[in-house]
Point group: C2
DNA sequence: GAGTGGTCTAGACCACCAA
DNA sequence: TGGTGGTCTAGACCACTCT
């Protein structure tokens, strides 16, 4: 059952996402939305409250409801000494890791930039759901340049674009066997409120944010071999890093 | 101006925090709260909506409003190879780092555990506000065992318990000069909705979660030298880690 | 002053759950 | 079946911002 205010929220959200309401611009005023949708004031306010808690808009008295710009400013962690070690945590992984889909795609600009590929390149995209217990705790979306996917198929015989193929070993080992050894991994962690899709997939209660991780794996020549986006449920996820100082 | 529903939300929140409403138990039903506070139904619902978006309670039709248990399950990152490098990001630090307070304290159990100290130990606690531009982007709370603070004062002449003392160099250099070299740093990152205090301090818009980092620094013998908690505004923060694989 | 969103009311009907 | 929260109305008054 989809209710009136949810419908209004959805239409406004679509308008924000497709650019009808650009960041910095304003939504129509409450009285206007009341006329447009022929509903009472509180119904409109419920819709706007929903968008507000999703982090999309900021209503201000006497001004209007402004569409937010959600580009976070980086504020990196400062290490005193760079040389360090990163250790895997034992017994903390997901207890189920399901490949939801896999195949060839022409990715959007963001992925092209992360992989430093020319426009319209083909890549392998893999979508995974990692669960802890009954619930999905983390969504993983992964992209590999065609060159990398192809040499892995040639040298290791694993077709990563086939969702039914379960790799015999982890991706980094496959890369090494194919002669493209991963050398550095960069991860950037941030947080935000979940999208309605993520709420549904991970069964997120209201008011639970997600932990978002962007990863880029590179070889010796600093050429990207893989990139991935992790979206983890904030109420059942944390990530840890251990660093050895010299 | 504090409104009626904010007042009700505050009283209920206090009840949750002081244990009157334990995790798993239920808040009084809406009709009862209407009688208790002599307000209309929607006023009570506004109060509950607020707690909901703060991640404290989960209302369910036909059941009641349940107090949530907010202990996240760990799901650590799995590295394929442990040995790695962690590089500082250039030009990404805060442009202002103010020591808000500093002094000796008897910390709560959580800090005692993180520092592996006997109960009732004295520690130096330092509170910092790190800003990016006009706004506070991250709160940092730091604790040092008395042993560590004392030897730093002896060997480096820096009294870390004095809020007006600006250290001549970074903490890890001071530790090395005092003969207690930091050897490993472990960080655990998670996310949640901000508390009302954090909303005020960092001027957080509604619907913005915070990125929480727990850090423990240890020496060669794996004895904790320092621990810190970072709370970063989710709309203006991210943290990055770079790892060199062997 | 005109327009914006914020709070609150009194009442209604609905969807869901447990006994 | 009775109690729970979820949605919605029509109207009122208030606080705030802009011009």
């Amino acid at each position: 059952m989809t209710t009136r205010y949810q419908e209004i929220a959805r239409e406004l959200r679509d308008g924000i996402e497709n650019g009808t309401y650009a960041p910095g611009s304003k939504l129509p005023a409450i009285p206007e939305l009341m006329r447009t949708y022929d509903v009472a004031r509180d119904t409109v306010r419920d819709a706007i409250a929903r968008l507000t808690h999703e982090g999309l808009v900021t209503p201000r008295r006497g001004v209007g409801t402004t569409v937010r710009d959600n580009t976070p400013v980086a504020l990196g962690y400062r290490a005193d000494q760079p040389a360090a070690t990163w250790s895997a945590q034992a017994g903390e992984g997901p207890d189920s890791d399901r490949i939801e889909s896999a195949g060839w795609e022409t990715p959007d600009r963001g992925i092209i930039e992360r992989l430093e590929l020319p426009p319209n390149s083909q890549v392998v995209r893999r979508l995974r759901h990692q669960s802890k217990g009954e619930q999905v705790a983390q969504l993983m979306e992964q992209w590999l340049p065609d060159m990398v996917a192809n040499i892995i198929e040639e040298h290791a015989g694993t077709d990563l674009a086939d969702p039914d193929v379960v790799p015999s070993t982890d991706l980094y080992s496959l890369m090494r066997r194919a002669g493209e050894s991963p050398s550095t991994v960069t991860e950037r962690l941030s947080t935000r409120m979940p999208t309605p899709d993520e709420v549904e997939l991970m069964e997120l209660p209201a008011g639970v944010p997600v932990l978002v991780t962007y990863r880029v794996t590179r070889n010796d020549a600093s050429i990207p071999l893989e990139t991935a986006t992790f979206v983890g449920a904030g109420d059942r996820m944390s990530q840890s890093f251990t660093v050895n100082l010299q």
